[in-house]
């Protein structure tokens, strides 16, 4: 059986890739996709810990399902914001969406 830390490494790598995407992508949709990757990295972790540490109760899996639900909602809201921003400012480049600056 694959040891736990392999799963954790995969999840960490996935998280880092997501984080990198969030931080470096100029396109807001790309940023949103990075966020999805980070959430899914967490899901991997949750499921892995459930499988290896507490297989008797279903907490890890249930939690992962919640995260997926919330992620879906988040994606819907995020995309709606991006579309609204695009309609207003003709752009989805996050660097240009900086009206909250000093």
């Amino acid at each position: 059986m694959i040891p736990l830390h392999w799963w954790l490494i995969v999840a960490a790598a996935l998280f880092c890739i997501g984080l990198y995407g969030v931080l470096s992508r100029k396109n807001a949709i790309g940023v949103l996709m990075g966020i999805e990757l980070m959430l899914n990295a967490v899901n991997v972790n949750l499921v892995a810990f459930w499988r290896y540490i507490t297989p008797q109760v279903l907490t890890g899996q249930i939690f992962a399902i919640f995260v997926i639900t919330v992620a879906a909602a988040e994606a819907a809201v995020g995309l709606a914001i991006i579309i609204a921003a695009y309609r207003r400012r003709d752009t989805v480049i996050v660097d240009e969406l900086d009206i909250m600056r000093w």
């Binding site: 984080l19 931080l23 940023v31 996050v94 969406l97 900086d98 909250m100 600056r101 000093w102």
Partner: protein
């Protein structure tokens, strides 16, 4: 008739109201203001005469007991000062004279003040306001039932005399082209002199009132003259004398100042600087009469505890009166100013009144006060009319001739008059009536009243049988009567007889009716006034007011029988004086040395300079006072006080300068503004972290988390 007593408070209040109305509302309307003043005093006169009538009809009950209206005024602790009004026979006698003479003077003033003045002169209204206040003061004094209200009125008159004597010093420098600076200065000096001189007496009077109040707890006449109170006052010893005597002498001090008795007489002649109606007002109806009234009103205090003939306070009154009567008359001989002769005559006649009171006879003194008020008002108004005629003549001459130079023409100088009886007959005849009354020729008023004083003195002399005080008083009075006649003879001869000695006198003309009609009315009173107490008509005044002090049980008055010898001697002296004065000066020519001066030589010079009393006072009192004031001024302004004040001021200024620098530099710019600047800069620097880019924030968060993780790993 009793109804009139309820109106008594209105007698002083109406002129007071007139004063207030003129000052507050109508002071821009000259004619209206003068009418208000005359209306006020005329109403007062009517009410007063109603009161007099009611008193006569009221019989002995009202005349002796009096009618009273106490008004509680000033509660102090457990006692209440009450300032009320009272009328008895004495008050009624005064009320007959005072408002009426005042009214005559007011009417006369309306004509007098208009002449030679521009119609818009604001002083015209002011003049009427002042004389109204003056009349209010005198009337208040007469109807007062206590010393407090009397003193208030007394001081009111003091103030008014100051304002009116100095009246010509109010000059409107915007509208008047020619201002006689010397006159302004003289008027100012005279006003001050009158105010300060009478003040000396007033302080004494006030001290007397304070003493009286502290001993008796009351200032009401009726209460302080009760036999018990007087006895109580006699038992207290003060400075080795019974307190009552000391109080009486203090009150007499006030009267000496107000009634211009020797040695405080100096203000009265100088008071001639005021407008002539004011002179008449001061000399006849108000001011100087107040002093005599005070002594008469407080007569029980002067006598209490002694026989009338030996009361020390009373003897002082008699002596001062006799000295003043004689001494004032002699100065009158040598004066050239028509009004100054009358002024010294007033001093002398006031001396007679004091003599009468000093002999213990209320009626004799007050009778002379009343008759004198009429004929002296007449003489003063007449002299004002003469002066006006002269000024008009002078104006006319100055207009017609080419020389416009302001020569040193003095319209008051009798030496430049002469022959005026033809030019001014309507002034001349009343003036003669006044002169005969003053001199004391039968049947004019002055004869009866002066004779009563002299008869009183002679009677007391006969009773005592020795050459004591009454004899000397009688002698001074009789000699004074002769000298009075002499200077009046000189005056009428210089003014009305002979040839005009100046162009102005030959061009003089009669004054308007508003001036001459009061003269005629007063002349009637100068003729018949004496019958009020003439012995052959039953001495009416004696019965009317003689007994007002009976309740005190110390003043007893009985009419002294008419003495043909005394009357004969004084009438002879008067006739002799009048005729010789007239005969000597009848043909006086301009530029001549005066006959009196030729005969009397240095004595005349002494008289002309008023015995050098003014100079003496100047040397003894005024110069030291001025010197002291100078020293105090230097001490205050030059040497000590001001430099000290300046030093303290400088120290304060320097200290505050230092504080100011510290405050601006250290506190303001370093601390307050420095703090603000630091935070401002910090904020400026920090706000750049707010980029608005979500990714930057997240980057910071990630790095921070990593750092914290790293720290966690490193230290755990």
């Amino acid at each position: 008739m009793e109804f009139f007593f309820n109106l008594v408070p209105l007698i002083p209040l109406l002129p007071l109201l007139a004063f207030a109305v003129i000052v507050l509302f109508t002071h821009r309307k000259n004619r209206l203001s003068s009418n208000i003043a005359i209306g006020g005093i005329a109403l007062s006169t009517l009410i007063s005469w109603g009161v007099v009538l009611a008193t006569i009809l009221g019989g002995e009950h009202v005349q002796v007991e009096g009618w009273q209206l106490p008004v509680p005024w000033l509660p102090t602790g457990t006692t209440v000062f009450s300032v009320g009004f009272a009328v008895d026979g004495f008050t009624a006698a005064m009320l007959f004279m005072v408002p009426f003479v005042c009214a005559m003077i007011f009417i006369y003033s309306q004509g007098y003040m208009n002449l030679g003045q521009p119609n818009q002169d604001p002083r015209y209204a002011r003049f009427f306001a002042y004389i109204s206040l003056f009349a209010a003061g005198m009337l208040g004094l007469v109807v007062a039932d206590n010393l407090l209200l009397l003193f208030i009125s007394w001081e009111l008159m003091g103030l008014c005399s100051y304002l009116l004597i100095g009246f010509w010093s109010f000059r409107n420098r915007d509208t008047e082209q020619h201002i006689d600076e010397a006159q302004v200065k003289r008027a100012r000096a005279a006003a001050l002199k009158a105010f300060i001189t009478t003040r000396i007496g007033d302080v004494l009077l006030f001290a007397g009132i304070a003493l009286l109040y502290s001993y008796t707890g009351s200032l009401n006449f009726r209460e302080i003259f009760r036999p018990e109170t007087l006895e109580h006052l006699q038992e207290i010893s003060l400075l080795g004398q019974p307190a009552v005597t000391v109080i009486a002498l203090l009150a007499f001090g006030g009267a000496v100042g107000k009634s211009a008795q020797f040695p405080l007489h100096v203000w009265l002649p100088d008071a001639m600087e005021g407008p002539t109606p004011v002179s008449a007002l001061i000399h006849a109806a108000t001011m100087v009469a107040a002093g005599v009234y005070l002594v008469a009103r407080t007569l029980p205090l002067f006598i209490a505890g002694f026989e009338v003939a030996h009361a020390p306070a009373l003897q002082w009154v008699a002596v001062i009166g006799a000295i003043t009567a004689f001494f004032g008359a002699t100065i009158g001989l040598a004066q050239d100013d028509i009004k100054r002769v009358l002024a010294y005559s007033t001093i002398s006649q006031l001396g007679y009144m004091m003599m009468g009171l000093g002999l213990g006879s209320l009626v004799a003194g007050i009778f002379h006060l009343l008759t004198h008020a009429f004929f002296k008002a007449l003489l003063f108004l007449g002299s004002g009319s003469v002066i006006h005629g002269m000024e008009h003549g002078h104006h006319k001459v100055a207009h017609h001739s080419d020389h416009h130079a302001q020569d040193d023409f003095n319209a008051n100088d009798m030496k430049v008059m002469g022959g005026l009886r033809h030019k001014m007959p309507r002034t001349f005849w009343p003036y003669m009536a006044g002169t005969l009354a003053l001199v004391g020729i039968v049947p004019f008023a002055g004869f009866w009243s002066k004779d009563e004083i002299l008869a009183e003195a002679f009677h007391l002399f006969q009773e005592s049988g020795s050459l004591s005080l009454p004899f000397w008083v009688w002698l001074a009075g009789t000699l004074g009567a002769f000298i009075t006649a002499l200077y009046m003879g000189r005056q009428i001869a210089l003014v009305f007889w002979g040839e005009p000695r100046h162009e102005a006198a030959s061009h003089a003309h009669e004054s308007p009716n508003s001036m001459t009609v009061p003269l005629m009315i007063l002349a009637v009173f100068a003729l018949i006034g004496g019958f009020a107490n003439a012995p052959f008509l039953g001495s009416f005044l004696h019965h009317f007011m003689g007994e007002v002090h009976e309740a005190s049980e110390v003043v007893h008055s009985a009419a002294v029988p008419f003495s043909l010898a005394v009357a004969g001697i004084s009438t002879l002296a008067a006739l002799l004086g009048l005729l010789s004065g007239w005969a000597i000066y009848r043909n006086y020519r301009a530029g001549q040395v005066e006959p009196f001066q030729r005969w009397l030589g240095p004595v005349f010079i002494l008289l002309r300079n008023k015995y050098y009393v003014d100079e003496l006072y100047h040397l003894v009192f005024i110069q030291p006072a001025v010197w002291l004031a100078d020293q105090v001024f230097n001490f205050d302004n030059r040497w000590v006080v001001d430099p000290l004040v300046n030093l303290v001021g400088t120290i304060g200024r320097v200290a505050s300068e230092i504080t100011r620098v510290f405050d601006t530099v250290a506190v303001d710019s370093w601390m307050v503004e420095g703090t603000a600047k630091a935070f401002n800069g910090l904020g400026d620097a920090l706000r750049h972290t707010q980029t608005g880019r979500v990714q930057n924030y997240l980057l910071v968060v990630s790095v921070t988390v990593l750092l914290l993780l790293g720290l966690y790993m490193a230290f755990l």
